[in-house]
Symmetry: C2
DNA sequence: TTGTGTATATTCACTGGTTAGTATACATAC
DNA sequence: GTATGTATACTAACCAGTGAATATACACAA
């Protein structure tokens, strides 16, 4: 069952990814993506039925790698869960200091397409954040924290807040401030659990 | 010293405001703004030298009213500072449940124009958030909190995080979760101060 | 081995519509 | 009669998506 050639499709997504992330969705034309991928627009429209479809593919391709990176940062940090979560923020701050950094592609896309609530790209973004929230919730549940979902959401709020604020101010130190708040909230939830047991 | 007629200019900004907030900056054409304001594009270009100029005016017009609203929500809430700050989040959640709500205009604009770091609209957005941060910092300083700037930034991170997350998930309950986290962090900072004194 | 049919993959050239910004002229007020 | 303000009509570029033709690969029969 032969299907649309994978390497070509992947090259298109890669080109779209770089352009959409750096310039924004509506700023980038399909012609530009095709040119960057080294083929014609007509060929691109053979592999993707519309620009919206291409935008969705751009975010879908970022889903797993992004989550894997967060998990890696968490796992390779030494210490308890509060310190491990804070390590995610510290690593993110390091990334955000690179000049080409332009925030979170999922959030920026949802902000740009806010007038199209059912857009597939927004759904992919929402699913991505939900996966991260779920992973945090499971991690906190393992620690016996009383309301792991609430805590996971608070950490997510700090994380996405730091994406937004750092993009606006171009000051990555906000990410470290967010990490500190996250560590504090987690440590307090752990303490509370201890009090209930003892 | 006669200057460009104020009512006309204000009507243009009002039209631009509605369109840019609802549809996004790059999605809306100057023609649409002019039509909504009830005049021709050429007239609009008499009052604003470029579309970028118009975008900046759109955000500048939202600066003071937005800050005033937050202060009002803070002041009319009954209770201590933690509860008063949480009230801001609760009121915001109520706003966010309106179907026309589409997040924070400042953040969405900065996300859409992330490829133009020096854009005047982004500077206006950054200044707006800084003013809110300053107001929080002063409020916390009055309470004798040890590091009022850090706490102010953590609240700001939760606030802007909730703008981003609620826009993505269309679930305003995240704002109440953020408010709870804010209240917790402030209450803890107040307690810490008390411990140092006692 | 060679011919041939078929689905995959790619290109050129085009359409109909939109867009930011402008040249020019006309109106109105003081 | 000069500065302010408004409208008509235009440019030159851009943009999402398509029609029609073509090229490539591979299965299978002779």
């Amino acid at each position: 069952m032969p299907r649309p050639s994978e390497p070509t499709r992947a090259r298109i997504v890669q080109a779209a990814s770089a352009l959409f992330y750096n310039e924004g969705i509506r700023r980038v034309s399909v012609d530009e993506v095709a040119a960057k991928a080294g083929l014609t627009k007509r060929t691109l429209y053979y592999h993707f039925k519309s620009k919206d479809d291409l935008v969705a593919a751009y975010l879908a391709a970022r889903d797993q790698p992004n989550l894997a990176l967060f998990r890696k940062w968490f796992e390779e940090a030494e210490g308890g869960v509060p310190v491990k979560v804070e390590a995610i923020f510290k690593n993110l701050a390091r990334s955000a200091r690179h000049p080409k950094w332009k925030g979170c592609g999922f959030l920026r896309t949802s902000a740009e397409l806010a007038n199209m609530p059912g857009h597939p790209a927004i759904r992919i973004g929402a699913a991505h954040k939900k996966k991260f929230e779920d992973w945090l919730r499971a991690t906190f549940a393992e620690q016996g924290i009383a309301d792991p979902l609430k805590l996971a959401r608070q950490i997510l709020l700090l994380l996405d807040g730091s994406f937004a604020v750092v993009l606006l101010h171009r000051d990555a130190s906000y990410m470290e401030t967010a990490g500190e708040a996250a560590r504090t909230l987690i440590a307090m939830a752990l303490k509370k659990k201890g009090q209930k047991r003892g």
